[in-house]
Amino acid sequence: MKKLSILFLFIGFAVTAQNKVPSTYLETLDGDRTNIQSLTNTDHVTVLSFWATWCMPCLKELDTISEVYSTWQEETGVEVIAISTDDPRTQKRVKPLVNGKSWDYTVLLDTNQDLKRSFNITSIPHTIVVKNNKVIYRHSGYVPGAENELYEIIKENSN
């Protein structure tokens, strides 16, 4: 029990810390490897959306954003990166699904969930808003309409 209370103390300390995007290599749909930091270390806002081909709310969220994505980009310059956490069972489905849905996002594969683990994500969908490599907002889950709240945060942080 003493252990537990000490642990809670640490959570308290840690919550105040501002997080950075960890240096992690992800695979592109063409089989190349890219360090996520090279994409998030920019002046404009980047949205990291963790999803999987089998995750219903994830598909709903990304389908919904897809409808307004071009407007979002024109108004704020935001970049949405859809990070697939699919394991080898469903990974081969990512590319046809992304094309079948005509999504316009940068799609990366978190092959053995290294980035998901670094961010301590326990369930998807999970959305992380980043600017200059720093995490400014996180949200877990998706319900219809939540994309508007996300867009408010993107706008607030865009120049």
């Binding site: 810390a17 240096s23 469903t90 081969k92 046809p96 079948g100 326990t122 369930s123 877990s140």
Partner: protein, 562 residues
């Protein structure tokens, strides 16, 4: 099993780690996560008293699994720990060895542009995992992290070399067997400066060394596995191939090493796809023969997914609804020669096909908002060949389909009707050979239809309604079910659901599996509460399944990430 550090040392270690965290907080980056799953099991007048067969004689109805993970990064260095606590006992259906609290994993890592060195517990995957994968899945009770060391070296952008050594984590202990691995990934198209296509090559070796108590073994203590793989893509077309060969090793059945049946194993995985704006097609084929691979031989076939060296998921569609997830295929890599049940199998052969299509907005079938179509078909069977149950031996053909295990055909149509209404229609046809998949008896054929509608009330509120029906003359007979979900705001949701096998002739065996619950989300933190009756069966995540006994009760879970 490995001798363990006394608990006191673990606490001390945790203190040391945390001391570093506090001291260095201003200079580095601290992140972490906390997750707690709590369950209060009740006696149920319909389905019976609460019993936990893993802990006979105990009467602890309240259980919880708790995880705390902390990671600290300072320049090129990072370190982390994970503490786990199963209080007073693990949730029902988890490995009984989890019944403890303490330090679960720790690591120290150095990472520069070209070099990554890890000591302690780490997760790794070679290729598609068919030869090696270590990962964590808390819902399944899987954490087969390797405890040892790993070096990853990238001399150029096109080459990645990995070398590792370790024992596998098994709850708070380690496996008996040792794992060695080497992996090479080379981007050939970059090296040869080819512009119009991409070609990648992968070569791996994995060794498992385990001494056994068998006298005069007819097999080596070191089992070797080799794999080669190619990934090709050109414009919209892509293809990949992977072959794994495992050297001769004793077959293990019902946790017993059979010194008289020593066989090699192999696996072939092929994938082809075409993806262009609006259309995606993918086909996967796999043949496996005697491919189960465990860090401890006798762990073969264990119900708790422990000591898994290679990842063998079921290559079928992962369905979304309660009734489409009753008869779930599980991959069949193992050899089973069971004369008593007249059951013989040595692996599996089959494949699946996927198609995604988008009817554009404004087209006849697309309508105002477009229509999205997804189709999947999967077929799996035993390897054909000679199975000699009397002499306990087998000889299989390379390409030949034996007894059918499973098939699944599904069609899904997503259609947005107006600004406020969107719908999803799903139809599934399944064939499930319970004798060959679960080593029980019976064949089940089903047809399932699901209709889902979401109605948006306003900016923040929406309602989701699901109706589903399963038709079958087998097993528990016809099922009906429904779900109603109300999203009260972006943070707060409630739901109620029920499935009922009303078609069963035996009235006493008709059971309502009802659930009611809600969840609250704030940022990356989530709290959920649920009361209801869970159907016994397999819970599958990513094609790996865990058996969960039937239960009734209250469950709560918290997850915090920072």
């Amino acid at each position: 099993m490995e001798p363990q550090l006394p608990m006191k040392n673990y606490i001390l270690l945790a203190f040391l780690f945390s001391g570093t965290f506090l001291f260095a907080q201003d200079y580095g980056n601290l992140s972490g996560g906390f997750e707690s799953d709590f369950k209060w099991y009740n006696n149920d007048s319909k389905t019976g008293e609460f019993i936990d067969t893993n802990f006979p004689g105990t009467d602890e109805h309240v259980r919880s699994n708790n995880y705390l993970k902390l990671d600290y990064t300072y320049k090129k260095w990072s370190a982390g720990i994970q503490l786990e606590s199963y209080l007073p006992k693990p949730l029902v259906g988890f490995l009984p060895k989890y019944d403890d609290s303490g330090l679960s994993t720790f690591y120290l890592e150095y990472q520069s542009k070209k070099l990554k060195i890890t000591g302690g517990y780490f997760y790794e995957q070679f290729g598609s995992g068919l030869i090696l994968r270590s990962w964590e899945d808390r819902q399944l009770g899987i954490n087969n992290a390797l405890m040892g060391g790993r070096i990853v070296y990238r001399p150029t952008n096109d080459i990645k070399l990995t070398g590792l050594f370790g024992k596998q984590k098994e709850a708070f202990e380690l496996s008996e067997g040792q794992i060695f691995g080497v992996d090479t990934e080379i981007d050939l198209s970059d090296i040869f400066k080819v512009e119009n296509y991409s070609l990648g090559l992968g070569l791996s070796y994995v060794g498992r060394y385990e001494e056994t108590d068998i006298e005069n073994p007819n097999f080596e203590e070191l089992t070797n596995a080799f794999s080669g793989r190619l990934d090709f893509s050109k414009n919209s077309f892509y293809a990949s191939a992977e072959y794994v060969a495992k050297t001769e090793d004793a077959i293990v059945e019902t946790h017993t090493i059979n010194n008289d049946l020593v066989k090699p194993g192999n696996a072939l995985l092929l994938n082809f796809g075409y993806a262009d704006q609006g259309l995606g097609v993918n086909a996967t084929l796999r043949r496996m023969e005697n491919m189960s691979f465990f860090s401890d031989r006798k762990a073969q076939g264990n119900l708790f997914n422990q000591n898994i060296v290679n990842f063998i998921p079921a290559l079928t569609k992962q369905h979304d609804y309660l009734l489409t997830n009753i008869y779930v295929y599980q991959a069949q890599p193992s050899v089973v020669l069971n004369a008593a049940n007249n059951l013989a199998k040595a692996g599996e052969i089959g494949g699946q096909f996927d198609m995604y299509y988008n009817f554009k907005e404004g087209s006849t079938l697309g309508g105002k908002y477009g229509t999205k179509l997804a189709m999947n078909a999967a077929y799996w069977a035993n390897l054909s060949g000679e199975y000699d149950l009397l002499n306990h031996d087998y000889e299989v053909d390379y390409f030949g389909f034996g007894q059918k295990y499973f098939s699944d055909i599904s069609l899904e149509v997503r259609k947005k009707l107006s600004e406020d209404w969107s719908t999803i229609f799903t139809y599934v046809n399944q064939y499930y050979n319970k004798k060959y998949i679960e080593e029980r008896s019976g064949i089940i054929e089903t047809n399932i239809a699901v209709a889902e509608a979401t109605y948006i009330l306003n900016e923040k509120q929406s309602i989701r309604l699901v109706g589903q029906h399963l038709w079958t003359e087998d097993d528990h007979k016809n099922w009906g079910g429904g779900t109603l979900e109300f999203n009260a705001s972006h943070k707060l949701s409630f739901y109620v659901s029920d499935i009922y096998n009303y078609g069963n002739e035996i009235k006493e065996e008709r059971i309502h599996y009802y659930n009611i619950g809600g969840s609250f989300t704030k940022g990356a933190n989530r709290f959920s509460l649920n009361y209801g009756r869970q159907r016994g069966g397999v819970v599958c995540v990513g094609g790996v399944c865990r058996y969960v006994p039937e239960s009734t009760g209250l469950s709560a879970s918290i997850s915090i990430s920072f």
